[in-house]
Symmetry: C2
Subunit: 449 residues, 2 copies
């Protein structure tokens, strides 16, 4: 076997270049060509010599090869951070959350979508977490911020951030999805990419204090007080009713941490209500008050907004829980398959009612289904990443995913969804998404009737 | 119950201000004082009126209160992101990875430590992930990057990034710890904070292709080829031997994703070897070559560096696996307890051999131990967050944590560690850490004999 001797001289590996068709990075570097595959064939014969020279790091034929090595293989790189906060590669500058132009009247009451097509696993980087604001975001001084707990309690209490952060803490992974996610698709408006169809979805590890702990400290009347009102400190006066059952389960958190650090300002720094499984609007940001009461408040954002227009013309209120849903993120709309052959189909599944049990994937518009691999851990009310092998034969295909949760609920197709819900809603569209792969390799959003 | 009427007028909650000692945020805002607690007592009597006025949003006595509300409660905030990449609050600017001045000769071959004292849960934000470079970091163009698989294989192969990202993908949470983490403590040098004692530790969700998949594609001889050499593309010529057993388990990944996005440049963008449970130096960054062989390579960074000087004067080589370890991150060195009373003690535990089974915490220097709560999920070769209640009586205390993994291995104290390993090592110090809480509330690093 080749071995290093004083870290400099090294026998050339026997199989370094093995004739025709092998693409060598050294050959490419030496030729300095962009069309690498073509170059690999042309230089295969001389590749061996160049490879040896590079491997040995000596002069002669190898000299030009060394000079043509990339700077990062010969030079001194950048220093470790002595301050500041790291950021992604300059080659990833295109991976951004994006606002949908024209979707909203102002940029303060608007949406910025997460780039799901470029994300992996289940954690959403906080710098790419979707945004939904009702009156813009703020960076509030935590030393000045307070949380009041009042209403049907023995003694109203006001907590400082320091006080909250001294209390028993829990950390949990949960998804957050805006109730209006995939809302455009109700109207058969096939927006082009998964960023815009499903990008009001993110997932983080949240850290905070169970709300029930704060209610107990204030001596809340849990027998009569079956609801709380959560109120944010920003100008939107966001208020939402949360049923006490959810809080008593210990799942609802008054969170200060997200993905290991303090919440980001766009996500409600320094304090946000985390209501696992429930639509994002109830995850009140800049949380400043919790009031215990004996009936729902019918606040503006639950009586008038965030309601579902049903086929009979009536509005359905307080439909908070995000039902089981999934979407393929690669391949997805706007992407391009460069050639036939093997692809890893990947996507996300989630349910507001517990764990994802199974995800099936079809590549023929729902005629045949295969069960995908779920990446572990599979957690309750959390994104689950799925993957499945696919060999594309170059012919048109329609890719879909269909999730089932631990309650046995199966994600509906559009026909099933419309039968129950009509077609004039905005919120809570959890239908199966279809991506058509065209012969050109282009992937487009289609809606099967 | 108070209810919203057209979203503007609102009955004052009965318990809004309840006499002496209640700290109200409105009282503070009106008084405009920094010394909030003092102010809360002085203005308790008038607090009721101001609170009602604010709540009603009407003129009169309440007007000045409204004018004194924070800007974020009355104004229009900042717009959603239309491009760019989010960043933490300006109030968190002090939470940074930091280099230890004088620890290394150059900033390119150095360390920057993660601020464990400020982190929550198990995910390390990628912007705060510890750094260890041997010749600086690079931001390599992924379209130019290649990975070669050669050595004892049927046909050497070179993969582009596009090719790798089309292969079957997995996502897993794992810790990475530098073998030299806590190295200063061998010499009884009690560095002041957990950032410098344990900050060469981070944890992420990694996404990539199992290395075994690439070896199978190249037709590796898994019978004779029981080792691989992993080689990085940067100027440090980092090469490490990885035993084939680890690779055959499917655990070793050729990773491109970290915490949902592409690897950061400091972490080896666009390709890094992930070797769960093994010290960080084997997680070769800028991965460009995998060679299959039939014996260890004795590369410079495994024959000469990253070796353990044992009590008998011999060096122990190839001690790669990070044994079970834990540390309390709050309270920890450099922090200050402001008064007596309840605190949440929290910390991290991990093992390179599997899952953490249990963590015990002592507040009296190891005489008495209580078992901490482990946050779920508890994953193999991953950080585990623990929490435990503590009421500080104001007297001196010594806080320690002791982890046990699923193999039954128990984290040693310094006496036990030195009995086995001596005191002249650099690497693989997994001893129990002690933080002394002084009567002043100050927390300092101490080493119990």
């Amino acid at each position: 076997m080749p071995t290093w001797i004083s870290g400099r001289v090294r026998k050339a590996p026997e199989n370094f270049v093995q004739g025709e068709g092998v693409r060598t990075v050294f050959a490419e570097a030496r030729a300095g060509r962009r069309d690498f595959i073509r170059g690999a064939f042309a230089t295969a014969a001389s590749g061996m010599a160049a490879g040896v020279a590079v491997a040995q790091g000596v002069a002669g034929d190898g000299e030009s090869a060394i000079l043509n090595l990339p700077a990062h293989s010969t030079g001194l790189g950048q220093a470790v951070a002595t301050d500041g906060y790291g950021k992604p590669s300059r080659y990833e500058a295109n991976v951004q959350r994006r606002q949908s132009p024209g979707l909203t009247q102002t940029k303060q009451a608007s949406v910025s979508f997460a780039p799901l097509q470029s994300l992996f696993g289940i954690v959403t980087p906080s710098g790419l977490h979707f945004e939904r604001h009702h009156q813009g975001w703020w960076d509030i001084d935590p030393s000045q911020h307070r949380l009041m707990v009042n209403g049907m309690v023995k003694a109203a209490k006001v907590f400082t951030m320091d006080e909250i952060m001294r209390l028993p803490s829990v950390s949990r992974f949960h998804f957050i999805e805006c109730g209006a996610n995939t809302g455009m698709e109700w109207g058969n408006v096939a927006v082009p990419t998964v960023q815009y169809t499903h990008g009001m979805l993110s997932c983080s590890e949240f850290t905070g204090v169970p709300l029930i702990t704060l209610l107990e400290l204030a001596g809340a009347d849990l027998k009569k007080g079956r609801f709380v009102l959560a109120e944010g400190a920003d100008g939107s006066s966001m208020t939402r009713t949360i049923p006490m059952e959810l809080i008593e389960s210990g799942e609802v958190l008054v969170a200060y941490g997200q993905n290991g650090e303090m919440l980001r300002p766009e996500q409600g720094y320094p304090l946000r209500l985390v209501v696992p499984g429930v639509q994002g609007v109830s995850w009140v940001k800049y949380l400043r008050r919790i009031e215990v009461g004996d009936q729902p408040w019918a606040a503006k954002d639950e009586a008038v907004h965030y309601v579902d227009l049903m086929p009979d013309g009536l509005h359905r209120q307080y439909t908070s829980i995000q039902e089981c849903k999934s979407v393929v993120t690669t391949p997805s709309g706007g992407q391009m398959l460069l050639d036939k052959g093997f692809y890893n189909i990947t996507g996300l599944a989630w349910s507001g009612r517990g764990k994802v049990q199974r995800v099936d994937v079809s590549v023929d518009g729902g005629r045949n289904w295969r069960t995908a691999r779920l990446e572990s851990p599979v957690l309750s009310k959390c994104l689950t990443r799925f993957n499945i092998d696919w060999v594309w034969d170059g012919k048109p295909a329609i890719i879909q995913s269909r999730a089932m949760d631990e309650t046995g609920y199966v994600q509906p197709n559009y026909q099933q969804l419309r039968a129950a819900r009509g077609s004039r809603s905005i919120y809570h569209n959890n239908a199966i998404q279809s991506w058509a792969v065209q012969e050109s390799g282009e992937v487009v959003n289609v809606q099967l009737s």
